[in-house]
């Protein structure tokens, strides 16, 4: 078997993308220095657990959070076609405070809408980590639960909860928008009950999640936590 990747450097650098490798540059004053993009361009802090405030206040805040679910417009797999109908007159998820946002910074919910290829998982993780706590994961379809029909694929994950804390699974292949709405209501209940602490869980079990993620994402090629 010929080496499929010509990059025969040491193991660590094998999958490192060109632009993330260390490079030497010459400053305007003519002095050379080295740049390590992963260190210099990315923050390498780990996430911290942010404990809830006192109970009464938190309850009120959780109610607000539950009534204002901003969903990241991120679609994976076939489920992404089920999300747009939510905003149509027929389903009108806006009634429940569900709104779409275009950027993970401002979103509080990410919907994993179907099978996740390894390549996509990497983007999902990045987006998830860029969301601000508290944040919720709503997983859609059998594929996220146990791989679904892709259970034996060489490139599709089987269980989402090994890679990020999932709040609500909506089963089905594919679940219809009604089911998704039901999933949102379930999520709301969970938030109001104060049980949707996925972000903290992620921070607590950070190493475990990372290990799982890194096991399948071999060209990790990014900082451990994408702020």
């Amino acid at each position: 078997m010929s080496d499929i990747n010509n990059n025969t450097n040491n193991k660590e650098d094998k999958f490192l993308a060109e632009e993330n490798k260390k490079r030497t540059v010459i400053g305007p004053d003519g002095i050379e220095f080295e740049i390590d993009p992963l260190k210099d361009y990315f923050c390498d802090q780990k996430p911290e657990v942010r404990d809830p405030k006192n109970k009464v206040v938190e309850k009120f805040i959780n109610w607000a959070r539950a009534e204002s679910l901003w969903v990241l417009g991120f679609g994976t797999g076939c489920g992404s076609i089920e999300i747009p109908p939510l905003l149509t007159p027929r389903f009108d998820a806006a009634r429940f405070g569900v709104q779409m946002r275009a950027t993970p910074r401002q979103s509080s919910v990410i919907i994993i809408s179907g099978y996740l290829a390894v390549k996509t998982l990497k983007r999902v993780i990045r987006s998830y980590e860029q969301m601000q706590s508290p944040k919720y994961v709503l997983a859609l379809g059998s594929c996220t639960i146990n791989g679904g029909m892709y259970y034996d694929s060489y490139n599709t994950i089987n269980r989402l909860d090994y890679y990020m804390p999932v709040d609500v699974y909506v089963a089905g292949c594919m679940p219809r928008p009604e089911a998704l709405l039901a999933g949102f209501n379930k999520l709301k209940e969970r938030i109001k009950a104060g049980r949707a602490e996925g972000a903290n869980e992620y921070a607590e079990k950070f190493d475990w999640y990372k290990a799982n993620q890194k096991k399948i994402i071999k060209d990790w090629n990014m900082p451990d936590y994408n702020w």
Partner: protein, 302 residues
């Protein structure tokens, strides 16, 4: 001294009313848009919930000092405009600090927020933010042209630049409004208002699909909360400015609410009906019809 404290308290009260009215107004407008599309739309209290949620987010990131200060500048622009604009004609307290400046101050104070926002978004380093800003600035330059013409026109008409005096001159009947005494200036300004509120057809600045929401791409949590607070205030204040200049001002809160609603509704109404312009189209558009109207508005006073 007591007077100052009283004045401050009333100003805070005014700010509170304006903020809540702004939030409510935006909810109502969204509901209207939803109804046009045949949906129920958000609950009327949704903006408040969103605000609470944003302010109570547990984490936030910052790209640097300017990123942090950007929203402060932005909200400062809104609150500052609020402070320098007389809300209720004839009220001793709800004229805020408008004695310290006139119409020109208001016109230029809006740059305060824009500049801060632009710088903050710039430090975010996100190219989309900057694209949004460059579009926004480009559009704004020509949006201001008919507005400038209209302002000059009414300043010539009333021979003053003081907002209070302009409002005073419009008292005594609906026919004294600038809308009727100087319809061309009003028309130019109302077209300019479309660009200022950045609803469709002039919403390429935000352009949710291609450059996710434009300048505030990187803003979140409390930062976004501050920006949204400002939006609520600013929309009312801008409407109040137009109300004062063209629609006879307000002698009580009810009048203010009604008029500002209608003025804001005008931009929403247009936004629902028309599709989006590209940036060079909108830049050019403001240099066509509104410009001509504005020039006519001045010519009639020469």
């Amino acid at each position: 001294m007591d007077n100052i404290i009283l004045k401050l308290l009333f100003t805070l009260l005014g700010l509170f009313i304006v903020l809540n009215w702004g939030l409510l107004m935006s909810a109502i407008m969204q509901k209207i848009v939803a109804r046009v599309a045949g949906r129920h739309g958000i609950p009327f209290y949704q903006p408040w919930i969103d605000l609470i949620k944003l302010y109570t987010k547990r984490t936030a990131i910052t790209h640097g000092i300017m990123f942090y200060l950007g929203p402060v500048f932005r909200l400062g622009g809104g609150v500052g405009m609020f402070l320098f604009i007389p809300l209720i004609y004839g009220s001793e307290y709800f004229t805020n600090f408008s004695w310290s400046g006139d119409l020109i101050l208001i016109l230029y104070f809006q740059f305060f927020g824009m500049l801060g926002m632009a710088l903050g978004a710039g430090e975010g380093g996100h190219p989309n933010s900057v694209i949004g800003i460059s579009r926004g600035l480009a559009q704004f330059t020509t949006v201001e042209v008919p507005m400038t013409l209209a302002v000059i026109s009414i300043a010539v008409q009333y021979q003053t630049l003081s907002i209070t005096e302009i409002v005073a001159a419009q008292q005594g009947g609906i026919l004294n409004w600038t809308l009727f005494t100087n319809p061309l200036a009003t028309a130019a300004a109302m077209l300019s208002l479309l660009g200022a509120f950045r609803h469709a057809p002039f919403n390429l600045v935000k352009a949710p699909n291609e450059i996710p929401i434009g300048p505030p791409t990187e803003y979140h949590s409390s930062f976004l909360g501050v920006l949204r607070t400002n939006n609520a205030i600013l929309h009312v204040i801008e409407a109040v400015l137009f109300m004062n200049l063209f629609f006879g001002g307000a002698t009580n809160w009810f009048e203010l609410i009604l008029k500002s609603f209608l003025i804001y509704f005008w931009s929403v109404f247009v936004g629902v009906v028309f599709p989006r312009f590209r940036i060079e189209q909108s830049v050019a558009w403001f240099l066509k019809v509104p410009l001509v109207i504005g020039i006519l508005a001045i010519i009639i006073f020469i």
